[in-house]
Symmetry: C2
Subunit: 316 residues, 2 copies
Amino acid sequence: MKIVIGIDVGGTSIKGAAVMENGVILDRFVFPTKKEEKPEVLFDTICEKIVEQMNAKHYEVEGIGIGIPGLINSKEGIVTSSVNLPTWKNFNIVEYVSRKTKLPVLITNDANAAALGEAHFGSGKKYNNIVMVTLGTGVGGGVIIDKKIYDGNEGKGAELGHMVVQVGGRECGCGRRGCLEAYASATGLIASTIEAMEKNPDSKLHEIAKENGKVDAKVAFLAEAKGDKVAKEVVEQYITYLGEGLLNFCNIFRPEAIIISGGVANEGENLFSKLRKYLKDNNYGYKEAPKVEILPSELGYDSGIIGAACLPLFKE
Amino acid sequence: MKIVIGIDVGGTSIKGAAVMENGVILDRFVFPTKKEEKPEVLFDTICEKIVEQMNAKHYEVEGIGIGIPGLINSKEGIVTSSVNLPTWKNFNIVEYVSRKTKLPVLITNDANAAALGEAHFGSGKKYNNIVMVTLGTGVGGGVIIDKKIYDGNEGKGAELGHMVVQVGGRECGCGRRGCLEAYASATGLIASTIEAMEKNPDSKLHEIAKENGKVDAKVAFLAEAKGDKVAKEVVEQYITYLGEGLLNFCNIFRPEAIIISGGVANEGENLFSKLRKYLKDNNYGYKEAPKVEILPSELGYDSGIIGAACLPLFKE
């Protein structure tokens, strides 16, 4: 059975594992992402670990796949830049890691990796065409067409979070205004919650934020469940923006399924049932379009590792 | 040299031609689109014409490609429905036309056909990945990835005009609100012009509309050129919406070029220079992204016929 290494680079830690061709994870490793450190130094440790693991376990690794948060050129194997990893500038990660490990290396961005993982071993495995949306600090997007990552010219496409859904709207970290990310990310939901709290000192949001210890993405949903009117508006607005974004992806990509992960997706059925209802109620113009399933991620936090491993597992 | 037939179905006429594999058009035909007529009756005439042409000219036709305005299933060869062709309901056009002509038939929607034509023989021929946007009655979109049409599940994807860019905004014919089409189509521009005229009885827009005989997509641009402030605002708003839509397509597809055609594109450099400036000025977050060329269509009204012909010419 084929064995490969999947590596999921994150802002706080770099997680990796040996992954079998059936998607089962064997040996895991995790290293802190030292932000001040050059990526070469971080990968010296990781490559040592990989070589050590291979020698100890006596299995033959066929390749390495790496998912990276940031702007990359997957064809040339270069990390152009990353907001969360300021020292990673024009780093030729493919050349570096393959030289250290003597293994072929493939890269993609982290959202694409997660989408590929779900497409092969998660809730997308029944489908050939999926869109994956991650509702975390930002809104990440991955597009899978015929079981392959679609990432456009130079591998820089499918920045789905930076689709403007409100021209002139809320400022986004990317510099534009009204991006889906500004409304539908956990950060966006928190911003809306805080805005609503400031305007409504009597709302239950205050009490629940206090109980919760902080204003996070859960607070609006918790207060809504307790019947708070202001929280209901915050949640409705959130569902509207996210729902319109997903309808856009339906019209643009016509996927078989949209898979949603990330912090806000932890709301579970409470979020998913609302979203499905919104899409059903507001999809006026596209009733004749093929059905699109709205599904939670199945692999959860492992989607990044497993998805990265899919790069060498399913390369052409 | 390979010869195929390309057919461009429109709301008022059905145009077709024999097209050589170098993109040169040989013999044209055109029939009125009788809206009350069943598509079978229309295609009886067209198929007769094709067979007659083949017999008269003694060339061997290798296949037929058809571009259709509406919701189609390109894989099954069916026209599901079309707003402009109310009698076309679940019409198995591929089966019908290939039975009548004894030729293989392929279909796509009209916007995809135009995009494919530009990608092979028009302003997109240097590029592998393009997005084509048609600014007419509606906003049509075609996405070409690696020189092939991307049309998603069942061939119904890439409805780029129905991407919401203003949640809760202007009503769109599709039933949603705030679609790009509602602002960036010729119809959208006319609506904005009329709105501005109603609010500003002193604007030069009135005088120019009178000279022009009607309020069409040209009026705002003409009045702006004469220094009218209100017209300038209309044009600026138009460029903002269209520009934000194109930036969305850049982030989503990361194409090498965006090709723009349709009535509004007849403004030429006046439109294109404004658009390029908007994209340059507002593309804050994506300065490191690959350059995207913004180009006019080269094939013009023939892009539909030539693009339809590309279906059999470049089929896999």
